[in-house]
Symmetry: C2
Subunit: 331 residues, 2 copies
């Protein structure tokens, strides 16, 4: 059951391979009758161009890699972040007639596989997602000479084009809001220290507090709900009188709400809570969550466009999209 080749189509239609190629690739200059005959032969034979042969001559694959530096259990989890990015990236890429190849690379072995895959010419470009500080991929992929962009500011100083939201600004807005509402002891549940989304939001928090001459109180989480619940417990041990907490993600804020409820605190009466992301679930928590809305999908679409437009001639400036504070009942 070997698949038919250009040659077979050409023979059937009684034309040369060059002509079949032109028809298949939509070249304008083909006699309408000949085109019709070729299309008929394509149809009858069920011809689909062999991508390997095409790539070999065009030096393109029309595929783009979306590489996520997280393990499956994190990517396929209740965190809607990945779903939103994958969906937005896919739509944008498909409308440009590119195939998306999703790869997870959270271990050195996985990273090596991705590097070989990319170096082997399987894709025309790469989108990096959820980069951690120590990730060797940006440097490794840069060596392939292919265009690479990152969703989220990379921790390393490589000048990798990227898109992100204004993490520092969003965190500032959240903390200012809490201070304006009269909160005096504002803690934070920070994200992983090896990710800029974690460190930038922590920086924004610290900045506003120190400008207001207040002390910081931080516990670390890993962006998951469970880690948020645990961090909240530690914060309450450190300072049982805290009256507000800013969590670096909604999921961690939801975990914090759980802990607060279990320790008998009322929200927002005793402790105000603000999250970050504005995931769908933020509207359905009890009470509904005040949060910093982050345009994840817009950033995704922007970096796809950066990737497709990449012109080695001039360096690409990062795209930073604004966030927006959404005030609900938890603060």
């Amino acid at each position: 059951m070997r698949r038919p080749t250009l040659e077979a189509v050409a023979a059937r239609a009684g034309v040369s391979r060059a002509t079949v190629s032109r028809v298949v690739n939509g070249s304008a200059s083909v006699n309408p009758e000949i085109r019709a005959a070729v299309l008929r032969a394509v149809d009858e034979l069920g011809y689909v161009p062999n991508s390997a042969a095409r790539s070999l001559v065009t030096q393109r694959t029309d595929a783009v890699g979306l590489v996520v530096s997280e393990p499956p259990s994190r990517v396929f989890s209740d965190d809607p972040f990945f779903s939103v990015v994958v969906r937005a990236v896919s739509q944008e890429l498909e409308s440009a007639d590119k195939q998306v190849v999703l790869m997870l690379a959270s271990s050195p072995a996985g990273q090596a596989r991705v590097e070989r895959y990319v170096a082997g010419g399987h894709v025309d470009g790469v989108i990096l997602l959820s980069l951690h500080g120590s990730d060797p991929l940006p440097a490794a992929l840069a060596r392939t000479g292919l265009p690479v962009v990152s969703h989220g500011r990379p921790a390393s100083t490589d000048r990798l084009p990227y898109g992100d939201c204004d993490n520092v600004g969003g965190a500032r807005a959240a903390v200012r809001h809490l201070l304006e509402r009269g909160r005096r002891r504002v803690a934070t549940i920070a994200g992983p220290p090896d990710m800029t989304a974690g460190t930038d939001r922590l920086a924004g928090y610290r900045e506003v507090l120190s400008a207001a001459d207040r002390r910081s109180l931080a516990a670390l989480g890993d962006f998951t709900r469970e880690s948020g619940a645990a961090a909240m417990r530690r914060l309450l041990e450190d300072d049982p009188d805290l009256d507000a907490v800013f969590a670096a993600t909604d999921l961690m804020a939801i975990g914090a709400l759980q802990t607060l409820r279990r320790t008998g605190r009322r929200v927002p009466d005793d402790v105000a809570v603000v999250g970050f992301d504005d995931i769908e679930a933020a509207r359905f928590t009890d009470p509904p969550l005040t949060t910093v809305r982050q345009p994840i999908a817009e950033v995704a679409r922007a970096i796809v466009r950066m990737l497709l437009a990449q012109d080695p001639a001039h360096r690409q400036e990062p795209v930073i999209l604004p966030t927006e504070l959404v005030v609900r009942e938890s603060s």
Copy 2:
């Protein structure tokens, strides 16, 4: 920044392209000194074989497609099913030195893209996951002549090799258990009617009840927690006196627990609940969930082996793995 070719490596090492190819592909019969010289050249140049060129001649890609017939929001959700399958399939495939290409295809457009991708020769075989009754992919992919297997029994009658757990038997065990505990009015929350995991579990439920001369009471869900909560509400409206429910997935059982709690029912005192899957969360519900353990990862590994071993000479028998009832406090 064009990547180096075999030619360049050969020139640098002072040998023919054939020899470089042999070294790169690990052929035994190469003089150790020459091999060393070639490897040095490969290293110095950072040579990685061009996959398109290699595929063109070998007619292999060493890649396998994992095609999931669900939208991103479902695949990237709190349902651990996909994470478990992706992880198991990846491990098994990687240990056979194959690349996994994950593709979602939940719309006609997506299915068409997958079909073209596979027909274009990008993969050596395909694993189908979460097939729905009307899915055109099995038939379309069969036409490519490539090996195809399914995780889960396909609804259509195509003789597609597949692996699954014993859905009917698992459901039977769950319902028998409820009857043995003295439950008299056993309802069920069934899965989607266009998926065999839904219909087979419903069939097992019905079988046991009618053998015991009891009436069935079913409400449909779509495997998600939300749908389980809603289905439970409908069941209670239909029969406020039911004293047990078998849900076709743990997530739906968890949704049912919510509804039961909200309507003031005690579990298991008033209503016993049994799920299906034994996901991690089943141990942490309140009360811990009795459920039918399903070997999702084992099935995944089995079908990968079926795919890799596929010999067109003889039809492959399905692999059906047993389930196991895990009794906890909800029943």
